[in-house]
């Protein structure tokens, strides 16, 4: 779960709450007002969350994560069937982040929110800055791409700020020197 947390934070999302199956899901959803809820495919609370979406369209839509290994044929079939589910292969954090980004983008697309455009722009800008900062780190520290990315992610996590912001401060620092 901490992998999921850090991947979400690194992608610029705020984790407003972590719940267990036995918690009061209904009141927690009202209190925390999340945009989306990520949950394991085998969580019994799926039925509760799905029914919230049925009652009111502006309630959060659950996004389901398959936390076990699944073969690509299964994934393909699930996507084709329209299952609101995205497969996380063995919870590898590097693969987790793009999966979550895709899931969230698909969710926003579904909601038809205008906010999405703006978000996407920010994310694109983030991604551009992250690429640039990664290049700087690789040159300066003589490390490969993965290590550079990992360094930035750790900085972002330690300071509890978004990856895009870390990238921008690195770029700004490099310009000063």
């Amino acid at each position: 779960m901490s992998l999921l947390d850090s991947a979400l934070s690194a992608a610029g999302h705020e984790v407003v709450g972590r719940l267990f199956d036995t918690d009061d899901i209904l009141r927690a959803v009202d209190r925390l007002a999340p945009d989306i809820v990520l949950l394991d495919v085998d969580s019994p609370t799926r039925d509760t969350l799905e029914s919230l979406g049925q009652i009111s369209r502006d309630r959060p839509r659950p996004i389901v994560l398959f936390a076990q290994k699944s073969d690509s044929e299964t994934i393909r079939r699930a996507m084709r069937a329209g299952v609101s589910a995205y497969v996380v292969d063995g919870m590898n954090p590097n693969r987790l982040q793009p999966v979550i980004e895709v899931a969230i983008a698909r969710f926003e697309e579904f909601q038809g929110m205008r906010r999405e455009l703006e978000n996407a722009k920010i994310k694109l800008a983030d991604r551009r800055d992250v690429e640039k900062a990664k290049g700087l780190l690789m040159k300066r520290r003589g490390v490969n791409e993965d290590v550079a990315y990992e360094l930035m992610r750790k900085m972002a996590m330690d300071r509890n700020i978004r990856l895009g912001e870390i990238a921008r401060s690195l770029i700004a620092a490099a310009e000063l020197l």
């Binding site: 009061d24 009141r27 495919v41 085998d42 799926r46 039925d47 799905e50 699944s70 069937a81 589910a85």
Partner: protein, 360 residues
């Protein structure tokens, strides 16, 4: 010439922790699946939405489904719209409406009668409203379930408007008790053993079994996708035949006691053992007994009257709108022809076994 060993079809079947998953356990443990050439793995699932998604994505070959689920799938009302079908009813009856001890007392400990209990609840809700107290919350298990429709039907008949006078929410069966205990819900409609379990644990009282609201209503079916049924026609027939045999076995003398012990031994359901042992046998539970029907006469054959009632409830509670070709929908959702074909494959109960039950 040597007989070549027959390759058994391997199947993965999904189920939820409920007493009426017992035909699946019986078919596995009493060898009915094997007898029909099937090698079945039962997969305990966490939610109805999960079962639906896994079935749609081919991760399960077949699954225990709530009876209205194939209709909802074929209407596209279930978010996915992957066509599904059912050719056998796994259980009829078996659920109850339960309320917290506090509400039961406030209602004046009503008798197990839908009208009397409904009037008692109306009086409490009216008193709550006058006193400015918060609305009561009632839970069921899934938007497309007999439990949901029976609960709303009962409230409505008592002059209590769901969504206005009370909140209606979804809670998965294994978490119902905890929600009643903590006061997050005031009552619920759910399948056995979760009604009696509330009494055994001292957190609630049953108001009535739901067969008093609608007798012999289909509760669970065995569902498959239409695609799977087309690609696996022979295996599908064998599967239905094995479950017809399991349903008939469950109606024979003393077999309910054995089956209840199987439920306990399977450790699939985290409910008090006593509630599991008593869920199937009806003994000593009087009017509150779940009165499960698994395989009496043609009780396992899907009935159009159930489908029509579910559809009328979907309309009534705004789950579907627009014109529906009811006959075409019911025919494509309930495969009566397959049931009849499978029935001829099912072996008759062993000689000497006495059919101990009759349909109500």
């Amino acid at each position: 010439m040597n007989a070549t060993p027959v390759k058994r079809a391997r199947l993965r079947i999904g189920m939820l922790p409920l007493a009426d998953a017992v035909p699946l356990l019986v078919a596995r443990d009493m060898g009915f699946f094997a007898g029909q050439g099937l090698d079945v793995t039962l997969s305990l699932e966490g939610s109805w939405a999960g079962i639906r998604d896994k079935l749609a994505a081919g991760m399960l070959d077949a699954a225990q489904l709530l009876a209205p689920m194939p209709l909802a799938a074929n209407l596209g009302a279930d978010r996915l719209g992957v066509p599904m079908e059912a050719a056998i009813v796994l259980s009829r009856n078996g659920s109850s409406i339960t309320v917290s001890n506090e509400l039961f007392l406030a209602m004046g400990s009503p008798p197990p009668d839908p009208v009397a209990a409904g009037q008692a609840l109306w009086r409490v809700i009216e008193a709550d409203r006058v006193a400015g107290r918060p609305r009561r919350t009632f839970a069921h298990v899934f938007p497309f379930s007999a439990h949901h429709y029976l609960l709303r039907d009962w409230l409505d008949a008592a002059g209590i408007e769901p969504d206005r006078d009370v909140d209606v929410v979804v809670i998965p069966p294994p978490l119902m008790l905890e929600h009643l205990r903590s006061g997050r819900v005031d009552g619920y409609c759910v399948g056995a053993p979760w009604g009696m379990a509330a009494e055994i644990e001292g957190v609630g009282r049953r108001l009535m079994p739901t067969h008093l609201l609608r007798m012999d209503c289909a509760d669970k079916v065995l569902g498959v996708t239409r695609e799977w049924a087309m690609l696996n026609a022979q295996t599908h027939l064998s599967l239905i035949a094995a479950l017809i045999e399991a349903g008939r076995w469950l109606e024979q003398a003393d077999h309910r006691e054995q089956a209840a012990q199987m439920l306990v031994d399977s450790r699939l359901i985290a409910a008090p053992h006593e509630s599991l042992l008593r869920a199937l046998t009806d003994e000593g539970d009087g009017v509150y007994a779940p009165r499960f029907v698994f395989g009496v006469g043609d009780s396992a054959k899907p009935r159009h009257e159930d489908a029509r009632w579910f559809l009328s409830q979907m309309r009534r509670w705004d789950q579907v709108n627009g014109p529906i070709d009811v006959d075409a929908l019911v025919q494509s959702s309930h495969r009566l022809g397959l049931y009849e074909q499978a029935e001829s494959l099912a072996r008759a109960p062993a000689a000497g076994d006495v059919v101990a039950r009759c349909l109500h």
